[in-house]
């Protein structure tokens, strides 16, 4: 192993931790806030249970708006918000704010599409059995869409491992940032290769875990 790499080992561990923190926060925000948003997007849509054309239009436009931003620009635009929420504009916690802002509408869209695949007949059967709206969401929409939701979460996680590399711009750190700073800017090709290799392993593992979970949940 080269001198470069050995001297970089502590940095590598820190970077992995930073990536972990950023992803954990962004994915949690996506599930906790983006998930319900996706369900509401679905339910307020045309011909659905809580058809609300105006609300649906507004939510839909908002989701599209945030999703239109290239992530790096979103990162900069949201600096004032980041300062309020995280109290600072540098570091992994600060980077988690724009990451969450991007992840929430992203996941909301994925959730909306997943639950749209639930058979309308099954929803109707549950209504005919006297299910409350909450029971319908939890026991029918989410349960029936569970395998697709697991796949959606996997797609989100993989995308945001890559997004988090851009967090380096606000000093967010993380493994992707390490690859750019040392490997790319300093021409330390061996560092770049090893970090990219680590990213490949992480992405493969996340994808494999996601696939396994989705298969476990799928009885169709």
């Amino acid at each position: 192993m080269s001198e470069d790499l050995i001297s970089l080992l502590p940095e590598l561990w820190t970077a992995l931790g930073e990536t972990g923190v950023m992803l954990a926060i962004a994915l949690s925000a996506a599930v906790v806030l983006g998930g319900p948003l996706g369900i509401v997007l679905f339910l307020t849509g045309r011909g659905q249970l809580w058809e609300r054309p105006r609300l649906h239009f507004v939510l839909n436009a908002a989701v599209n708006l945030v999703r239109s931003f290239p992530f790096v620009i979103l990162l900069v635009v949201l600096v004032p918000l980041t300062r309020i929420v995280a109290g600072t504009t540098i570091g992994p916690l600060a980077a988690a704010v724009p990451l969450s802002a991007a992840a929430i509408p992203y996941f909301a869209r994925l959730v909306e599409q997943s639950v749209r695949d639930v058979s309308p007949g099954v929803i109707e059967a549950a209504q005919a059995m006297g299910a409350t709206p909450l029971q319908l969401i939890v026991k029918v929409l989410i349960t029936e869409a569970a395998p697709t939701l697991a796949s959606s979460l996997t797609v989100l996680a993989v995308s945001f491992i890559s997004y988090s590399a851009a967090a380096g711009i606000v000093g967010g750190g993380g493994i992707g940032d390490l690859a750019i700073r040392f490997g790319y800017y300093r021409f330390q090709t061996d560092v770049m290769l090893i970090t990219v290799a680590i990213l490949i392993v992480i992405v493969q593992s996340v994808q494999a875990a996601g696939n396994l979970l989705s298969r476990r949940l799928d009885h169709r």
């Binding site: 007949g121 099954v122 059967a125 005919a128 059995m129 006297g130 299910a131 349960t143 029936e144 395998p147």
Partner: protein
């Protein structure tokens, strides 16, 4: 027990009013097995769905055991719906729940304990001869078995009536027999009222003791099939005869000749 009083449904599509069900009055007695027959688009499924308000009626009233279903708020409607089981053409089972969990579903949402729901569900599965498949998932069953699970699910909350929307239309003739047998037993043994929408004379002949014939949103005739010879005045019988498969014919040939 199920009384439809001038109940009607008008859809609005592309700026035009389309009458799916014209004001209709029908009485379906306790424990009766009642058929609704007609060609597709006659309004029979819509009429059935007006009974548990899967379609909101445009006018009129629906009384079930004396309760005006049409006047109920959301919460009371949910309770009333538990007394009206429903069986669908496409089964509509929950794919990610086991057979047993499908049958416990209506009990679970009604707040029954897990053990009580499980006991009742097994009882119902036994009734449709599928207790041995309790831990399988719907995807592992044949069409006829899926429909029998759907029937077990529908009877689990001990409803007073089952609304069956083309229950055998997605099935081949042999499995149709098994599903009709199951429905018939539920009607005879458990005294559950059946309201069955079908376009098949075979189904009516096997299952029903009275039938209403629908055309263009109107009930044009009601025939009591326990009377022999049954009396039909319209020429619908001939039309239905033509649409029904040959072995289905005898009953309606009999009717058509009157």
């Amino acid at each position: 027990m199920i009384a439809l009083q001038d109940v009607s449904k008008t859809f609005r599509a592309s700026g035009r009013d389309i009458v799916a069900v014209a004001p209709t009055t029908l009485d379906i007695g306790n424990g009766q097995s009642f058929g609704l027959i007609g060609s597709s688009g006659a309004g029979k499924s819509t009429l059935l769905r007006l009974i548990n308000r899967l379609e909101e009626p445009t006018g009129g009233r629906v009384l079930v055991d004396g309760v005006d279903i049409t006047a109920l708020g959301p919460k009371d409607l949910r309770h009333a719906r538990r007394l009206l089981g429903m069986v669908f053409q496409s089964f509509n089972l929950l794919a990610n729940r086991t057979v047993l969990e499908n049958v416990t579903f209506p009990l679970e949402i009604a707040g029954q304990s897990r053990t009580a729901a499980r006991r009742r569900a097994l009882e119902c599965l036994d009734h449709v001869h599928l207790a041995d498949r309790a831990d399988d998932y719907p995807a592992q069953l044949s069409g006829g078995q899926k429909q029998r699970v759907a029937i077990a699910r529908a009877i689990a909350p001990k409803p007073s009536a089952l609304l069956c929307d083309e229950p055998t239309s997605a099935l081949d003739p042999q499995t149709t027999e098994s599903v009709l047998d199951t429905l018939l037993r539920i009607n005879r043994d458990l005294g559950v009222t059946l309201v069955t929408v079908t376009h098949s004379m075979d189904v009516v002949r096997k299952l029903c003791d009275a039938v209403a014939v629908m055309e263009n949103g109107h009930v044009i005739e009601r025939i009591d099939l326990r009377d022999r010879p049954a009396v039909a005045t319209s020429n619908l019988a001939r039309r239905l005869l033509e649409s029904a498969a040959a072995p289905a014919a005898p009953l309606f040939r009999e009717l058509a000749h009157v």
